[in-house]
Structure formats: C-alpha cells, structure tokens
Symmetry: D2
Amino acid sequence: MTMPTPLTGVVPPVCTPLTPDHEVDTSSLTRLIDHLVEGGVDGLFVLGSSSEAAYLTDAQRRVVIETVAGHVGGQLPVLAGAIDMATPRVLDHVRSVTEAGADGVVVTAPFYTRTHPAEVARHFRLVAGRSPVPVFAYDLPVAVHSKLDAELVLELASEGVLAGLKDSSGEEGNFREVVLGARGRADVSGFSVLTGSETTVDAALAMGADGVVPGLGNVDPEGYARLYRYCREGDWVRARVEQERLCGLFGMVRVGDAGRMGGSSSALGAFKAALYLRGVISCPVTAEPQVPLSSGEVERVGKFLAGAGLL
Amino acid sequence: MTMPTPLTGVVPPVCTPLTPDHEVDTSSLTRLIDHLVEGGVDGLFVLGSSSEAAYLTDAQRRVVIETVAGHVGGQLPVLAGAIDMATPRVLDHVRSVTEAGADGVVVTAPFYTRTHPAEVARHFRLVAGRSPVPVFAYDLPVAVHSKLDAELVLELASEGVLAGLKDSSGEEGNFREVVLGARGRADVSGFSVLTGSETTVDAALAMGADGVVPGLGNVDPEGYARLYRYCREGDWVRARVEQERLCGLFGMVRVGDAGRMGGSSSALGAFKAALYLRGVISCPVTAEPQVPLSSGEVERVGKFLAGAGLL
Amino acid sequence: MTMPTPLTGVVPPVCTPLTPDHEVDTSSLTRLIDHLVEGGVDGLFVLGSSSEAAYLTDAQRRVVIETVAGHVGGQLPVLAGAIDMATPRVLDHVRSVTEAGADGVVVTAPFYTRTHPAEVARHFRLVAGRSPVPVFAYDLPVAVHSKLDAELVLELASEGVLAGLKDSSGEEGNFREVVLGARGRADVSGFSVLTGSETTVDAALAMGADGVVPGLGNVDPEGYARLYRYCREGDWVRARVEQERLCGLFGMVRVGDAGRMGGSSSALGAFKAALYLRGVISCPVTAEPQVPLSSGEVERVGKFLAGAGLL
Amino acid sequence: MTMPTPLTGVVPPVCTPLTPDHEVDTSSLTRLIDHLVEGGVDGLFVLGSSSEAAYLTDAQRRVVIETVAGHVGGQLPVLAGAIDMATPRVLDHVRSVTEAGADGVVVTAPFYTRTHPAEVARHFRLVAGRSPVPVFAYDLPVAVHSKLDAELVLELASEGVLAGLKDSSGEEGNFREVVLGARGRADVSGFSVLTGSETTVDAALAMGADGVVPGLGNVDPEGYARLYRYCREGDWVRARVEQERLCGLFGMVRVGDAGRMGGSSSALGAFKAALYLRGVISCPVTAEPQVPLSSGEVERVGKFLAGAGLL
C-alpha cells in the first residue's frame, strides 16, 4: 500500500516470537499480527529494537518481513527496520525488506563507527537516495550512542530525505522542537513525528505528534488505540486515565533482576511473557545471549496483566 | 593452517582497498597482502575496524576473506572479524569466514543492545561453543560502548572460551592485568594478549604482551616487524627509537579536519592515502558515509611518510 | 516562611547578575527579584545551575542568598542550591544558606567522585539528617553524570528524607513515574515534583507535576505564570498556545556559536542578554571561563524577545 | 621551596587520615608524611582525588595544607590540589593553599558545567595568570568527564600557562604524545609530565615521563622509590619485577564489594586500611558518603600487604 502522508496513529513495533530453538515462529507471528490489527492499530513496524532485530540473522529478518507483509496484504502500512552499522550494510537491508513488501524503512544513524554529524546527514541522504520507499529516522541514543538533533531532522525533512521520525530518545524537549518545526516550516510537509515512548503518549499527542510506536502496544493494542482516540477527540481526562493504566502495566519491564540480566532481557522478556500468558504466542523465549526470566518473574508479569484488567 | 598457541608477533588489521565505485578492489588487496607479508608480519587480521567491516556488506566481507585466505594459502595465520550486534548474527559471520578459510575469529561484546556483563560472558561462550576455530575477544569500547574487564577475560580464558584478546581500549592498566593474569594462572595457557595500539607497542611488549595489531602496520609493516624484533631481543634503546619514529608517522591520523569529518574518516582515510601514495593500492577511497580527505590533507599524509623515510 | 507542602507553582531558578568585573551586582539582583515577584512567581530558587552556582565563590554565594532572602522578607519561599561534590562540602553550604534565610535546600547526587547508588542514597540521608530545612533532590545528569531513578526518589520521599524533586533530566518517562508514585503511595505525602524543563511545562503539569523551575522564567515570568494558571484551570488549548510561544522564545539558548563556546555560555549568556535588553539588569556578563556572546548574537536575542512580544 | 623545573620523581597523592568523627587527624597526617619522606619520595601532592579533596570542607582542606607544609618545612616540594567546579572557585582555593605554603597547584578542567574546549583553555589561562605558583593540569576524565588532549596541553605548556601535567586518564597513547611533544618542541621547556598510574610506571618512565603520582605510593613509598631508581638506571629487568610486585599489591583496590559500594570507597578504603594495618595512621575511616570496608574486606587488604612483603 502507499504510505499515508503523514503516517499517523498507533504503529506498534512488532515483537518477533521465537520457537524454543530460537527460530522465528511464523504461526505465532501471524497470530500476533491478527491480535494487533484486531486491536485497532494503524500500522506495523517490524524489525526494530523491540523486534530483536539486533539479534535476528538476515535469514530470520527475511522470514519476519515476508510473513508480516504477506499476512497483512496491504490492509495497513508496514514499516521495516534496516538496522545495521553503516550505509552499505543498511542499503542491503533496505533492498531486502522492500523486495519483501515493506512500505517504508526505519534507519538509525551509523553506530559502532565514530561518526561526525556531517556523516550522519550524508548517511541518511545516501540511504534515501537509493531507497524505493520512504525513510523514517530512528532516534535511539541508548543503542546508537548519538542523538539526532531537531535541526538536523528538520533539515533532512525539508530536503525530502526523511518522511518521518521515530523518537525513542525520551527527550521530550527535542521532540517538541521537531513537532513545532515540522508544522511551522513551509518547506516541510507530510512529515510524521512518532514517539517511541509507552508512558508519555498523551503528552506527545497533545504537543502535536502524529503517532506512537509503543513496545507495550504488543501487549495491549486496544489500550493504545483507545488512548490515541481519546487524545484525537481532545478528551484529555479519559486519555490520562487510560495512559496511567498503561503506565502501571509498563512496570512489567522491570520484573527482571538487574543483578542477573540487562534491560533488554527484562523488558523484551516481559512483553513476550505477557503475550504468552495472554495466549497470543506459543513460547516466550528471547534471542541469545539474553537471559530468560525466571518463573517467579513471569508470575509477576501475570500480576501486571491482572492489575491492568488483561487476564 | 593451525593457529599458533599463543599467537605472537605483528598481526596488522588489514585495510580493505576499494574501487572508486566502492567495491572491493581485489587486485589492490592482494598487493597489500604481499606488501605486508614481505614486510615481515606474523599474521593477518581481516574484517576488523581498520578494515571498515562496519561498512562492508556481507558479500563484500566474503570477497575479502576469500581473497586473502586464498592468496595467503596457509603461509601465515588469518584472523577474521565477525563483527555484528549479537550472538546469532555473529555466528552467521563466524560460519561465513571460517568456510572461506579463516584460522581464527575476532568477536566483540554485543553492541546496539543493552547488555549485562552476564550476557557478555554468555555471548562469548555461545559463540565459542559453535565456532570451528579459536575465538579472540576484541575490546574496543569506543565502538562497542562497554569494556571487557580483566577478570571476565581471564575467566573466559581459563574456560577455554577465548584463545586471545585484542585490546584496543587504550587502557594499559587493565591490559597489564590481563597479561599478568594470563601468565600467573595455572588454569590459563596458550592465551594470546595482543595490543591494538600503534604508539605503545614497546611498552606492551615490555609488559609481556604476545603481539601487536597496529592499523598503522598497513603503512609500515617493516617498522613494526623491526620494533617487535628489537623488543624480543631486549634491545629497548633501539625499540624506543623505532617506536618514536612510528609515533611521529601515526600523527597522520589527525590530518582530516575535525570540523568536517569524524575520527574514522580521518584515520582510515590517512592509512589508505598513505598506501596509495606508497603505490600499494590503486585508489584511496573509503566506504560511505565517510568523508574523503581533501587534496591538501592527502598532501599532509605525504609529508608524514616523507618524515618517516617512507617516500 | 514555612515551605508549602507540597511546594507548587512557578519557581524560577534566579540568574545571578554580575558587574563588569565579575562581582555580584546586588542592585540588579533585587531588581530581578522584583521583576519575578511582580511577574507572579510562587517561589524563588537561587544558587542553582542557572544561577551560575558552579562559578560563584562561597563569598559570592553568601551575598546572593543574603540579598535575596533579605529582599523577599518571607513574602514567598526561597530555595537555595547547596551545590558541591560530596556530603561534607554540601553540608557546609546547607549551613551557610540556611543561616542566611533559605527556606529549603536543593542538593544533587555527589559528583566528581565515583559514587554507587547506595552512596547516593546515603548522601541524601546524611544531608537531610543535618539540614534544618526541607531538602529537594536536584536531578541533572548532564552536570552530575548520574541519574536519580524514580525508585530511589520515592524511597527517600517515603522516608521523609526528600521534600521534593527538581527534575532537569529531560526524561519525561522517569518523571511521570515519580509523579504517579508520589501520588499512589500511602507512605508519601506532601512531596513536590517540579520539572526543570522550559518547553514541556504543559505536559508535566498535565501529568500531575506540582510546579516548574524554568530558567527562561527569568526572562518571561508572566508567561510561565499564565501557563501555570491555564494548566491548573484545565484550559489546555490556551496553555498550549502559551507554551508554544515560550518554546519559540526558548530558541534564544542556541544563539551562541557552538564552535566557539559551550552550551552554558550560550544559554546563560542569552538569558542575561535578554534581562539586560529588557532593562532588568545592568550588565549581561557571565562568570569566567564562559565565553561572552558577540554583539551579533546579542542582537539575535533581541529578535527572540521581539518575536515573543517582550520588547 | 622553589619548584624543581621540571618536577621529577615519586610524588604521591597524600591520603587524608580522618578521626572516627570525620575530622582531619593531624597526628596521623604528619606520621604519614614522615613515612613518605623516609620512604624516599621526591615531592608531595595533597588535596587531590586520593586525598578525598572532593569530600573535605574548605576548613579541612586548610588544615591539611597547613599541617603538611608546616611539617615538611621546605624539605621537598608540596603540590596542592585546587579542585573545584570553575575558575572563580578554583582561584579561591589557589589563594588559600598558596597562603598556606603550597609550592604548586594542581587544577582540573571545569566540571559540573558544560564546557567547550576553548573555555577549558581559557580556564587554565585565567588560573595561571592569577596564581603565584606554577600550575599543573590534572587530567582525570573519570571525575571531570572531559579529556585534556595532547595538543591543548602542549599549547598551554608552550605559553608558560602550565608547568606540568598529572595524567590519570589511563590513556597511554595520548600521554606519550605529550611526552614526545614536550621534548620535541623548542618552545616548551621544563615541563613535567607525570603519570597517575600505579601499574604502568615502568612503561611511562621508559617513554620519557618525568615522574609518577601513584595513590598506592602511600602504602609502599619505598617500592615506588626503588622502581623509579631502577628505571632511571635503565635496569628494566629489576624495574619490571618491582612493578609487577606493586601490580599485585594494587589488587587491594578491588577488595570492596561492588554491589555495595563505589570504586572510591573500595580503593581509598583499601589504601587507608593498609596504612592502618601498617601502623602509619590511627583510623582507616573514609569521608562520607563513602561506604566503609567490612572487617572481611580489611582482612583481605592485609593479605595483599603480606603477599607484597609489607606486613
């Protein structure tokens, strides 16, 4: 399908269900897609950080995008991450995911390399110049170790290099600068500003954001769809209640023991455990070398679900 | 060939010459290998950071390892980087480079992901458990954003998980702790401790390091071979003179204007410019999105070569 | 006066006007206080980062707090920073500012030292145990290089160690966690959650924050007072318009040439230039070694004022 | 006394013994000075990081410098740290310590503030312009969160702003660049390059460093004096044996449980425990909020002493 301009609404970063021996579980993946679509989401983002793209092999990435694009069949837009270290490798992923049906690609600044802001700009220009579909910038300093500042994003937007921004930086001041800049500049149009936050969605939408890409949206797509609707209707009271319920649910990302595992193991482990407990996916395993949640930790995920009315 | 235990000597991280349209220039690559072998190096390390592995596509990486392993034909050991974000992707590279003839693989901690020390250890154990060749840990905090501490490295050495360490952290205190630990522990043997420094090689060898992996060794392999020999002979006076000459030459990494490009563009650009000026490779281009050196900057590289007696 | 429980409203971090020879300009300081009080603020925060506390000598700090506390005479609460590296030095400042009339103190985690979270908690407990006035935690990772996480803040709130939080981290997710935690826990009451942001005040208040500590409030106290009032009245449409006007004004912090000066020189230089242009203070000089704005940069500050209807 | 030009030899950063109620223990301090002087050191550095300067109040700092300068009475040069956030505060300390008899001051780049390299240079120029004694730059990125690069240090050396560098960065490549630059430039003379490392002293001296400032020198001044002498005599074999003995002893810095305390608590706690166990100081307490070593941890310090032949 053609990408809406701008892309709006709830676009969850889709988890990648795995089998016990760490292969992509395509049955669970299609069930997850159905769960999201029925939950009222407006688009799908596969092969991002919440999808464990950093772990998936190229073959597994291909299975994911083919499965999702094939299953969705153009009902709603599918964004795909092209997550890799630098331009030529990113372009390989762009080619692969667009051949498989991605309607847009999501690209970070180079990482691992020591990169100058001028090189970051050059990277996005080169990628966009050779991509057959719109390019969204993915701002994720915790992974990439550099920040996309508002000025650069707006410059690339005005050049037509970027179609949107997925901001997972957690820095709302810079985010708002992009929102206001995208609206205020005559040379920018149709640019989509999306927040990756789970817990400040009402705030982002109140500021003028176009949409949200919440990892927790895998677990409770109806919740985020409702939240989005309330915000669009200007019903800030109900929006806040819904958002605060989701804030409570989000507490699950810290069930994992920080002395025993990293933040990804805990957060992605919790999302997958929740999807498993809700009967959406068949197995909650995460990719290696992440550490699995203990049974006690999974039980605590269940309590978060129960507390949010989801079990 | 079988990997020496421990691996010792000068093992330069081999630059990847590119054509003007950014493909691997295999003719230049084999000329570079001849230049290094004739220069007296003891091994080769391909597909590391100095090889621009972060930029090279999988197909290009394959061309590099096939070209080098084929050309070397077992005369000396070839290490290959398996640089990627997390375990499953790293294992794909391990498979690819060992099928093409690598005698050992070089692996970093996971990056892009948020990884706990326990997960870093698990990563190396999983990779080593499935690698048909010895695994060397690559400590490069500037790229990976975490540090391999001495205790972890020695634990993995004692388990037989790691065959060696390439330390590019620049932190000599931790480096010495590994050197002393590897020598002092009964449960560690044949472990190779290699410094990635260009400018403190005499110091590292005086401390007991097994070898050196200097990017500048591409430009002046004879210099590093001499330096290594002087150190092994205990001729610290001549070693220091040679090392200081190489320190002067190393100044070339800063020819690039820091207002216009990042550190990689400047350093790798300088190494390639030097190889081009010395007639070893046909084209000094670096991978995208790195910024090329200006002609004035290339000229300054030439002055460094002249100053070190290499032009 | 007694500190309100919780402290609410607009509490600007008061700039410290200096004479051309870098002494505290007490006449300008009292004029600035009048400007703020007449502008409708609810409290004052002196000797914080926007006050250049990191630069002011102990004698200068004393002049500031004595001048302000004396001039205010209990009309509204005065918070004072006790900004220093570790507990004993912080306690010296606590003693000094409370003797001079501060109604509350604002304290960061230790910095310069390498401090464990357990030591951060111990620091706040020790300071609060010996402070005659309520202690507010100051979360400013850009200066302190560690983050106060929500769990620690709430634990210290429940113990009665902290009376409030001034959050200048820019991380709205963690901020909201504190807001919800402070409201949701039976063992926490009267705890004041204040945002240090200039540009997301409407969002913070919509989430349930108690007040705001905006550096830009020096320049336009009426604006922030209006914004606060609209938010409290639930008039989110007018609040957003006012906030967006202030976002535009805030652009002044980037007038300084980033190739020639740091972020403090530019932002504090702009605030002082604006106060000078508005006729509030006699001299826009900042403390050493900050770099002064050029006349062209000061002119651009004037344009920001004009654009916001303040000249 | 007049500061030697350049300052050379062993210049330990003197620990600050405290009483059980956290006041400066001047009797222990003079005993520690005697222990160091009898151990053969060439100078003393008080009020640095190993002296817990970040914790000591101004009054305590004054007691330390007065006690040490008075006790030493010009027998050997006394450097004093003037550790604070920015220029005016640093200048207050410079005044204080030089009035009390310091022969030189040691100054870091500004911290807590967000400072541009141009402002760092300005800071050192302003401090040196108003200091009655020579100024040494203190490079300690782990505390200050910025690095003094070789180019800046050498520029300030050539201007006569800096008399020397105490490099505690652990980055030997940059350190060597300063050493070679200070020797190679006609416009730099008498500049003293000192390493703050405990474990790479032989390497630093072999490279041409002028002296060493090892925290562990408090515990074993004779060891460092011997090590320095062997290096100066070119007896690298004995130097390495001595250095490796000291590397073993240095392991004490990690006795503290990293789950319970920070690196300072562990390292400074171990140095003080060792001085206590050796009978030099009366009480091993560290300043607040550092966490004390447990009795088991102190026992392990004793084992390190025994292992190095010091008990």
